[in-house]
């Protein structure tokens, strides 16, 4: 029965071809360091799922943000788990992305023919940092508020356009409801959309070109 459905779908989607192209291709023998990329992807998916679950309750306004986070953490069944996974997942994202970058760097995997993969990877790293920066404000507690104050202040240091950029980042002179709303919007719409697009390109390139083997001493 399953096979029949599979056949029917294959006639229309040619999914077996796609499956073969992605999963049945051969790749060189690799070591455990090569799991860092997929681990990053796994955590990204974790962030997406837990993040979506959090938005079911989270309200991005100064008068409700903190309370809704407290509510999620203390009142909802497994709220602690969902928020805990998202919180620690954020750190894991940064760690894994950097480790993945170092792996690629030390294995010389950024070289021909994978330069474009590398560049999308660097942009993805920036996006991950952007996620961390915008997500950090959302609980609207003392730490997040003041860390964001300092963090956005740094933007203001830029020569000539600093003040202007600071105002754009904060949506005004100070951290306010506007800041919270735009950080939230960036965190759940702009960055995920960009991330999804770039991860798509990144993965396409990885599959298209294939992963490098472990370089030998003479390479």
């Amino acid at each position: 029965m399953l096979a029949k459905i599979g056949d029917w779908l294959d006639e229309r989607f040619s999914w077996r071809e796609v499956w073969a192209a992605i999963f049945e291709r051969k790749v060189p023998h690799v070591n455990w360091f090569y799991t860092l990329g997929s681990a990053t992807l796994f955590v990204a998916i974790n962030q997406a799922i837990t993040g979506i679950l959090l938005t079911l309750y989270y309200v991005p306004t100064p008068d409700h943000a903190y309370d809704s986070v407290v509510y999620i953490t203390t009142q909802l069944p497994f709220g602690w788990l969902i928020r805990g996974l998202h919180h620690w997942g954020a750190s894991a994202m940064v760690v894994l992305t950097v480790l993945h970058l170092l792996r690629v760097f030390y294995f010389g995997a950024y070289k021909y023919p994978r330069e474009a993969t590398w560049i999308t990877g660097i942009i993805l790293l920036l996006i991950v940092i952007g996620f961390g920066f915008t997500g950090y404000l959302l609980p609207w507690d003392q730490k997040s508020f003041w860390a964001t104050t300092v963090g956005t202040q740094i933007i203001g240091l830029a020569p000539f356009v600093g003040d202007w950029m600071l105002r754009i980042a904060r949506g005004g002179r100070d951290i306010s409801a506007v800041t919270l709303a735009r950080f939230f919007g960036t965190h759940v719409w702009i960055l995920p959309a960009t991330l999804a697009a770039l991860v798509g390109i990144h993965l396409y390139l990885v599959i298209r070109i294939g992963i490098t083997g472990v370089p030998k001493k003479d390479e």
């Binding site: 992605i22 999963f23 049945e24 291709r25 051969k26 790749v27 060189p28 023998h29 690799v30 455990w32 090569y34 799991t35 997929s38 681990a39 796994f42 955590v43 974790n46 100064p62 903190y66 986070v69 602690w80 788990l81 928020r83 805990g84 996974l85 998202h86 919180h87 620690w88 750190s91 894991a92 940064v94 170092l102 294995f107 995997a109 950024y110 070289k111 021909y112 023919p113 330069e115 590398w118 560049i119 790293l125 920036l126 961390g132 950090y136 609207w140 507690d141 730490k143 003041w146 860390a147 104050t149 963090g151 740094i154 830029a158 020569p159 294939g210 083997g213 370089p215 003479d218 390479e219």
Partner: protein, 707 residues
């Protein structure tokens, strides 16, 4: 990398791939294991550490030390090495360059070498950068300031700030023994509202505690508020508090709390402050909490204050209950014991309890578990109640307050002092027991009783105090408050108010028949030889010299003119006689004549009116008097005594004992007898003014004409 090298790489990679493994499942398997490992770590962190959440963001809090998330710490730390204008290098230029370098890396490093040992420069540079970032991060963590302690707010202080500080400033100096709870709840002085309706008992207690011991409130906030919600203070009962300190960690609800050895961990000053805060040294409150359970609401005590201090401080067995066995009948004993076991169900014993027990037990019924034990205790008597050793329990301040209150209460304090003041200052007009009477300063006006429950219920202490202090000039009452030129200072005012208020719970003995008090005695009584004189005699002695023997006028104006009689009403005339007239030789007669004598004078002067005789008709003067004093009850609806005084026709003919008026015969007319208090006194609330009585008597004597 040239084309040849590229081709070479692609060829080698192709071979490597062919020797390799399928992506699924071999590679995916490893990835899955890694994912599982990471998931377990994340879930463990979520479970054991949890997602931290600090206090709600407070943009106004300038004391908070901002810390970025850990993966920005290196950047944060780096900024410390770029002071002033160089900051932009650390914050922007270096990170910007690093990112640019990373993006451009494949184009900068174009050599075909891949193994890290074969490209030492790149490897070492990257290592240095990573090590630098790690170093900065660690340095930043190590330099982190210690986490701030949570600040617990002193809620009693907040309560004070919100409610009291506006008028009282930062602190209030309260005399020892003040019943602060009562002051706050009832709002005793001018302008102070009664908070009792807005604040709960706990809040008032917390406020009282704070006012008397702000340090104690701070100690509470520091040590107790973590568990005990303020102002719902733990307990206001000193006995319980002493137990808390004595038993420390063994105190039932403090079990397992490490810090609970308060007696050791707090200094004596702190302990004292805390006790004063929790049970404010406020005599009446302390009495209510500690003493009234056994003593009821009042004690009788005859010794000195020192002896009382010693008695309370030392405590001990001081209550010897007699053996009631022979004294009470079996039936009474049964009723009483049933009552003691369950007062609600067996109210029959209440009277017995009031008779025999309440003198010592007050109105608090001692708790008896069952009838048998109640019978045993009551029949045998003995020293069955031990008074606690209060010296060990109360602080010095609390003891002082308690002794002062108890001593003052046993001496009858407040109301007793007020009674003398009332007799001196008020009873002339208001009667000895506030029953009221004629208004001596306003003719035809009757002072209503101020001791009635209606009156007292509808006026709070502040109102009464204001009335006394400011007087009621419109009604002829002069100001008594020292501030307003009167004789009573603040304390005396309070005492009088307390005395008046006292009537509410202890109504004055039934006022004597009002006619006996129609003319209250005046302390400033005139010389005895003047007391029994009639109005005419008084006129001759006092007025005739200037105003002429028949009031025809001499130095002073004539009285027997229409102008004079119509220009001044009785009140104006009274004032005229009572007080000296500037620019004339007229003296203030209040020094020589009593109020009643001045009234007699006025009444006489009225008869000098050329129209007096003519005005003695129903429509002339009588109907107005009847309307003001009689018609309320004697009207066609109510028809008291069957008499209707609203029209000439009805007043002459109606009535259960009609006729009420026998023209020409005042002595036998029921109306005349009634207003004179012969038989039943009319009006029942107090007699008519002398002049009104005279008018009616004269009118009846003149044949009670209608027009």
């Amino acid at each position: 990398m040239n084309e040849q090298e590229k081709k070479k790489y692609l060829d080698e990679y192709k071979k490597e791939k062919e020797k390799g493994v399928p992506f699924f499942p071999d590679i995916i398997f490893k990835d899955t294991i890694a994912a599982l490992l990471i998931f377990i770590i994340l879930a463990a962190l979520a479970y054991f550490v949890g997602a931290p959440l600090e206090a709600r963001a407070n943009p106004a809090d300038t004391t908070y030390t901002p810390r970025p998330e850990w993966y920005f710490l290196f950047l944060f730390q780096a900024l410390k090495y770029f002071p002033g204008k160089l900051e932009v290098i650390g914050a922007m230029v270096l990170p910007g360059l690093l990112i640019l370098l990373l993006i451009l890396l494949p184009f900068i490093d174009r050599s075909p070498k891949r193994h890290f040992l074969n490209r030492p420069f790149a490897s070492i540079s990257a290592f240095v950068v990573v090590a630098g970032i790690l170093y900065l991060t660690i340095a930043s963590v190590r330099e982190a300031p210690p986490p701030q302690e949570a600040i617990v707010v002193d809620k009693a202080a907040a309560l004070y700030a919100a409610n009291c500080a506006n008028c009282h400033g930062p602190s209030i100096d309260v005399p020892v023994g003040t019943d602060l709870h009562q002051v706050i709840a009832a709002g005793t002085h001018e302008g102070m509202p009664a908070w009792g309706g807005d604040l709960g008992t706990d809040e008032i207690d917390a406020l009282a505690g704070f006012i008397l011991s702000p340090n104690g409130s701070a100690v509470f906030t520091k040590y107790c508020a973590v568990c005990h919600e303020q102002p719902l203070v733990a307990s206001g009962n000193p006995v319980e508090l002493q137990r808390v300190f004595d038993e420390g960690v063994n105190y039932p609800s403090h079990e397992g709390i490490e810090a609970a050895n308060w007696a050791e961990s707090l200094t004596d000053t702190e302990l004292n402050g805390l006790l004063n805060f929790l049970a404010a040294p406020d005599g009446q409150r302390l009495f209510v909490i500690n003493c009234s359970g056994c003593h009821g609401q009042a004690v009788g005590y005859n010794g000195t204050e020192e002896e009382l201090t010693e008695l309370i401080t030392k405590g001990g067995q001081h209550l010897d209950m007699p053996a009631w066995k022979g004294t009470l009948s079996e039936k009474d004993m049964d009723a009483l014991t049933s009552y003691v076991v369950d007062p609600a169900q067996n109210s029959g014993g209440a009277t017995l309890f009031g008779q025999h027990c309440a003198s010592c037990h007050g109105n608090k019924v001692p708790k008896a578990p069952d009838k048998e034990s109640a019978i045993k205790i009551i029949s045998s008597g003995g020293a069955h109640i031990t008074m606690p050793v209060w010296g060990d329990i109360l602080t010095v301040e609390q003891l002082d307050a308690l002794v002062q209150y108890t001593f003052a209460a046993s001496k009858g304090g407040g109301p007793a002092a007020g009674a003398n003041l009332f007799a001196e200052n008020c009873s002339d007009c208001h009667g000895k027991s506030g029953q009221g009477g004629l208004n001596p300063s306003r003719h035809g006006d009757i002072i209503a009783p101020i001791s009635s429950s209606e009156y007292l219920k509808t006026r709070d202490d502040a109102t009464i105090r204001n009335i006394i202090s400011f007087g009621q000039p419109d009604f002829g009452m002069s100001p008594f408050g020292a501030e307003n030129g009167g004789a009573l200072d603040d304390e005396q005012l309070d005492a009088v108010v307390a005395f008046i208020r006292n009537w509410e719970s202890n109504p004055p003995a039934e006022a004597p028949a009002a006619n006996a008090e129609v003319q209250p005695e005046t302390p400033a009584a005139p010389s005895p030889n003047l007391t029994s004189l009639t109005g005419a005699q008084l006129f001759t002695i006092a007025c005739a010299r200037c105003h002429g023997p028949a009031g025809e006028g001499d130095v002073g104006p004539a009285f027997n003119t229409k102008e004079f009689q119509s220009k001044l009403d009785d009140q104006a005339l009274f004032d005229m006689i009572s007080y000296s007239r500037a620019g004339t030789d007229m003296i203030a007669w209040t020094d020589k004549l009593s109020k009643s004598q001045i009234e007699l004078l006025i009444q006489y002067i009225r008869t000098l009116d050329p129209n007096y005789a003519a005005s003695l008709t129903y429509s002339g003067r009588v109907s107005a008097i009847l309307e003001a004093n009689c018609n309320t009850c004697h009207n066609p609806e109510k028809l008291r005594g069957g008499w209707d005084s609203t029209s000439y026709q009805s007043l002459m003919t109606s009535g259960d004992n009609a006729p009420a008026v026998i023209p020409g015969n005042a002595a036998n007319s029921l109306l005349a007898r009634s207003i004179l208090g012969q038989g039943s006194q009319m009006p029942p609330i107090g007699s008519l003014s002398q002049s009104d009585i005279q008018v009616i008597l004269d009118w009846i004597a003149a044949g009670a004409p209608e027009n």
